[in-house]
Structures are given as C-alpha cells and as structure tokens.
C-alpha cells in the first residue's frame, strides 16, 4: 500500500490503496513537499473505472476494472471479457482473489505476492504495502530536475533499518507547481533499479490534481510495461458496508 501511495496515485486507484502518506522525518523541506503532494494524491474513499494495458514483448493485453476503496480495504472487479468476474479483495493486510471459473477464493500470500498482478508490472506486494511511510523511510530533498518540461523536486527515501519495506530506496520527482509525483524509481537493497513509474497525464478535480495516465516498467525485464489509465473517478462516494466482505467476493 505504501508502495503504491508513493509510486503512483493512479495505481492507488487501481488497487485502492488510496493513502499516500508521503512524509519525512527530519528534512523539513522534503516533509513540506510530501505533505502538499499528499493533499493531491491521498484518497481515503473512492470509486473508479480504470484500464490497464500490459505490454510484454509483442504481446499486449488490456484489462479493465471497477474499483472501490475505503480506508484499508479495497475491491477490484475485472470487467474485460477475458477476466470478467475476477475479483481482488484487500482487507487490511490480507489479499484475496476470486476466479469465477474455479468458483473459489484464493488467498494470495508468501512469495506469490512478489508476482506481477494479472501479468502486469505491478506486483501483488505493491498493493499490499501499508501506508505508514513516515515510520518506514527517511526522505531527503536531493535536487531539482525537469520532467517533461516541468520542474520537479527530487526526493530520496531510504528504508529505516529493521523496518519491513519492499523497496529499500525510492527516488521521487514531484512537480514543483502542482505537487504531484511525476516519476518514481524503486530500488533493491543491492542498489539495482527494480521499477520505474512515470505519470504522463494529470487532471484537475476541483482543487486536486490527480494522475490519470501513468506507466510502470519492471526494470528487471526487457520490453515490458504496464500503462495505467483512470477512466473515471469519484472521490468520497457512498460505498455499502458489505462491499469489502469475503461473502461479497464470491
């Protein structure tokens, strides 16, 4: 969850980890930047229609889904013909999947969480991260750089020792005017770049700027990328209480 929140607000919609608590512990400038970014990207409750275009070599798959999120819980229901009826339910720290063909619930745990979700460049782990970044990373403002012609702050976060975090280091480019993350690099402890997320389009919803088109690339694999589009999104909708129950998943 924290991954997603840091990585991409669009992904937040998809998997419904709408809580990007980008915070720093000791660098005031970095903290202020992250706080402003949170105002744009942090979402507690939302419903959205999203599209995911997964490209791997010459193969391309398009998946669409409707997603609902509220606090720590999220539900994604796939709507494209091939996966119609497949559902993901996140309840706290647990992730469940329902395949309509098998008519069975599968709990995704252990090493399965490292796999790409539905063949995408987003791992299940990415959607399971907690949102307590403040306790997990120390951020530092390390510079400025232009991304697609827009001046950005560059922030670098290093995992606090002994904390359980998926990515040891992350580097974020935050738009200096709109305070939205435009790019994020995620690194392994070995220093190897694992993933890069780039935001291509933003839309303004009232006072809020929100990413609506982004691309995630798994840097360990060639010719693979996942484009992520938010087709429509409603902030703070009424979501029924039984939306996030296992009974509803079947």
């Amino acid at each position: 969850m924290r991954q997603i929140s840091n990585v991409c607000a669009a992904l937040l919609c998809l998997i419904f980890i709408f809580a990007p608590v980008f915070t720093t512990t000791n660098a005031m400038d970095a903290e202020a930047i992250i706080r402003k970014r949170d105002q744009n990207e942090y979402v507690n409750t939302a419903a959205a229609d999203v599209e995911m275009v997964i490209t791997s070599g010459r193969r391309q798959m398009t998946k669409t889904m409707t997603s609902y999120a509220e606090g720590d819980n999220a539900l994604a229901v796939f709507t494209n013909p091939r996966d119609r009826g497949t559902k993901f339910l996140k309840r706290g720290d647990d992730l469940w999947m329902f395949f309509p063909d098998a008519e069975d619930l599968i709990k995704i745990s252990g090493h399965m969480l490292s796999q790409g979700m539905m063949g995408s460049d987003f791992s299940y782990q990415d959607i399971m991260e907690s949102d307590k970044l403040l306790e997990l990373y120390e951020f530092e403002l390390v510079g400025e750089e232009k991304i697609d012609g827009r001046l950005c702050y560059i922030l670098e976060g290093i995992a606090i020792p002994e904390q359980e975090v998926s990515y040891y280091r992350r580097r974020s480019w935050v738009d200096q005017e709109r305070f939205v993350g435009l790019k994020e690099e995620l690194y392994a402890r070995s220093g190897r770049l694992l993933k890069v997320l780039k935001v291509n389009e933003l839309e303004q919803f009232g006072e809020r700027w929100y990413p609506t088109a982004s691309v995630m690339e798994d840097k360990l694999r060639k010719d693979t990328r996942t484009e992520f589009y938010v087709k429509s999104i409603e902030f703070n909708p009424d979501i029924s209480e039984d939306t996030f129950t296992l009974e509803n998943l079947r």
Partner: protein
C-alpha cells in the same frame, strides 16, 4: 497316496485344461511379481532421489522452522554454531554435513522470470552430502564468495541460459525488502530428480547470506550417513544431545519428511490396487475349477458308482486343483523372476515409452525406472496361487461329490 496319484494322473490326462488353467494362474502371478517389482523400484528410487538430492539422511532445523518449511521462511533459522556442534561431528557413520540456506526467489533472464528455490551452499560440504558433483552436464562448480550459480539443465533451457550468462534472482530479505542476487551461470546439472533439474538454483552460501541479510544463519543442516538405516538411531541420539541445551533444535530423519509419507501413502494405494488384481485372479481360478467340476460331472458320477466316498472325491478334486495352482504358481514365479531380472538390468523409461512425466504422478524420478528384487514376493506369489486354487476348489468339489451318481453320469 492312491488319491494323490489319481489326482496327478487326472492332471496328466486333462493336460490341455491343466495347461490353460495353470497358464492363467502363471500369468496372474507373473504380473503380480512384475508390478510389485515396479512399485518397489519406484519406491526405492523415490527415496534415493529424495535422500540424494533434497533431504540427506538427517535434517537439523529449528522446530518452528520445520512447521513452516514449505514457505522457506527466513525466520527461526539455525545459528552457525550448530554446524560445528560436537554432537553433529561425532555421529556414528557420519559421511558429510552440509549447511544450507534456502529461499524463494524469481529467476530473471532479462526477458522472462520463473519462481525458483534458491539454495545457498558450501560446495565442498555440499558435494559430500549430495552426489551432485557427478551430475554436471556443462560447466563446473563455484567457490565460496563467487557470484556464480549452478542450476538444472532444464531450467536453463526454459530461460535460454548458457554457461557464462548472467542471471538476476529477485528475493526478499529478512526484512521483507526486495534485493537482487546477480550471478554468472557457472554450471548446469541434470539428475533423476525433477526438482533439481527445473526448480533449484545453487549459489555460494556467503553470497546468499549477505543478500538475505541473515548474518551467518542457515535454514538447515543436512547430514549424510554411511547407510540410510542408521538415520533413525542417529536422529534419536542427536536429538538427545541437542535437547540438553536447546529444545528448539529438531532432528528429523529422512523417513519423517512429508515427501516420503506421501510416497508411502501412494504406494499403499497402489498395493491396494494390486490386491484387487489378485482378487480378480482368485475369481478366475475359482471359475476355472468350477467349470472343470461341471465338465467332469459324469466322471464324478462314475467314481461314486465305483464306491468312492464323498470326502475321497473331494480330496481328489482339491488335490487336482491345488496341483494346477502349484504348477501355475511355480511357472509364474519362474517367469516373474526372469522378468524382474530383465527389469532390474534394463529398466523401463515411461517418459519415452508413454510420454508420461512421472513427476506429475508424484514420483520424483526421471528417466528409467528399475525393478526391485523381493524374494518374499516370489514366495508370496507361489503361496497365493497354491492356496487360492486349494480354497477355491473345496466348495465346487463338495457340490460335485454330493451329486447322485446316476444324475451325475447323465448330467442331470
């Protein structure tokens, strides 16, 4: 004695019937012996391949780890001191001790990735426990500290990897943080164990320990003994030693591993099927004896008319039937012994013959399967043939012997 002679003479007189019936029995016994040999061979090879490539004769692990061992967690590991514990080094019949650090990872060739089980090993120790050093088909082993890997030929083919290529394994360390292990492919192995060929990647222990941030801890200590039969006693002795200081350390002999239990359960199931086959064979024998009795109704009537008592007729019939069983059983045992001999020497490659992947059937063996030699089975086969014929003939013999002589002669 007279009746035995009479029975034997009858067998000779009705040589066609004797031949056909005893051949059927022989065939049943032959198949039974061959099937038993196949099951025995598969079982022996399953055990051997599990001991030789996965579990050794004894495993020393943390008890909490043992309960979660399928997940290969990086918690509840063994401290390095366990490796040099005097009790371990003083085991009677000790052949080798190999520390291992196992983990789950995703092997990446830059284009595709596959889930694998990684094993951090100390090559010199490892090859004393597992005969993998003889199974290299390309390349060679690595040394501690080298960023090199050995993997199965099959896995390398799946990811189109050759010697000298570089691989990346994506892992999660002790803190659940992603890390990568980059290594050059140093060697490819091919064994009779499908897991080794397709799922395992061997790396230097120190490289893995560093990547997983577990200091000098290990997942398990594998012990090889001179004989697998020594495992039970050695495990008890070793457990006693460890229990004095650390009751968290568990010692598990090879026959306590789940894979062996599963193999045993499957074998038990197969043997039940074998029992059903024998039951069908017994029914065939009974059928033959009843038909023989019906066919010889006039003869029975004549014997009664000549003054033979019921029990004497029963005696002759039962002796005849038992004789057929003895003949069939003996022939079956001879044929079975010959078949098992060939089976043990030549083996059967089900993968090639029937395009069967034995691993899919839960039998962790690749290539040819060789039969096992079991003298007890030969004796059992013979006893079964003789006793089934004997028992099967009693009722029909009584039924025939009770017939009125005149009715029996005229088949009424």
């Amino acid at each position: 004695m007279l009746f035995i002679k009479l029975a034997l003479r009858n067998l000779a007189r009705h040589r066609n019937r004797t031949f056909v019936t005893s051949t059927i029995i022989a065939l049943a016994i032959f198949l039974f012996i061959l099937m038993d040999s196949l099951i025995g061979g598969m079982t022996d090879m399953s055990y051997a391949t599990l001991i030789d490539y996965e579990f050794g004769h004894l495993q020393i692990v943390n008890r909490s780890y043992w309960h979660e061992k399928e997940k290969l967690p990086l918690k509840n590991l063994l401290p390095w001191e366990t490796v040099n514990h005097p009790a371990v080094r003083n085991i009677s019949g000790l052949k080798g001790v190999s520390p291992e650090l196992e983990f789950l990872g995703r092997l990446n060739n830059g284009i595709n990735e596959l889930p694998v089980v990684g094993k951090g090993i100390i090559p010199n120790d490892f090859y004393k426990v597992y005969p993998l050093a003889d199974q290299f088909v390309e390349g060679a082993e690595f040394a501690l500290g080298e960023h090199k890997a050995v993997l199965g030929k099959r896995l390398a083919e799946l990811l189109k990897l050759d010697i000298g290529d570089y691989i990346t394994i994506l892992v999660k360390d002790k803190n659940e943080t992603f890390n990568t292990i980059d290594a050059e492919v140093a060697g490819l192995v091919h064994t009779i164990n499908p897991n080794v060929n397709s799922n395992y990647v061997y790396l230097p222990l120190d490289v893995v320990q560093q990547a997983l941030a577990v200091d000098e801890s290990i997942s398990r200590l594998i012990i090889r003994l001179d004989e697998k039969d020594l495992a039970h006693k050695a495990s008890r002795d070793l457990q006693g030693e460890f229990s004095q200081n650390n009751d968290q350390i568990g010692v598990y002999p090879w026959h306590e591993i789940e894979a062996v239990s599963v193999a045993d359960a499957k074998n038990a199931g197969i043997r039940v099927m074998l029992g059903v086959i024998l039951l069908i064979a017994a029914i065939a024998i009974i059928n033959n004896v009843i038909l023989a009795a019906l066919e010889r109704m006039p003869e029975i009537g004549m014997m009664k008319a000549m003054g033979l008592e019921e029990k004497e007729i029963v005696y002759v019939f039962v002796t005849e039937a038992t004789g057929i069983g003895v003949l069939g059983g003996f022939s079956g045992v001879i044929l079975g012994a010959l078949g098992v001999g060939v089976f043990r020497r030549v083996g059967v490659d089900f993968t090639t013959m029937m395009d069967l992947d034995m691993a899919q059937w839960g039998i962790p063996v690749l290539g040819k399967i060789y039969g096992s030699w079991s003298p007890i089975t030969l004796v059992q086969g013979f006893i079964f043939a003789a006793s089934a014929s004997f028992l099967a003939s009693i009722l029909p013999a009584y039924w025939a012997a009770r017939k009125d002589p005149i009715q029996a002669i005229y088949r009424r």
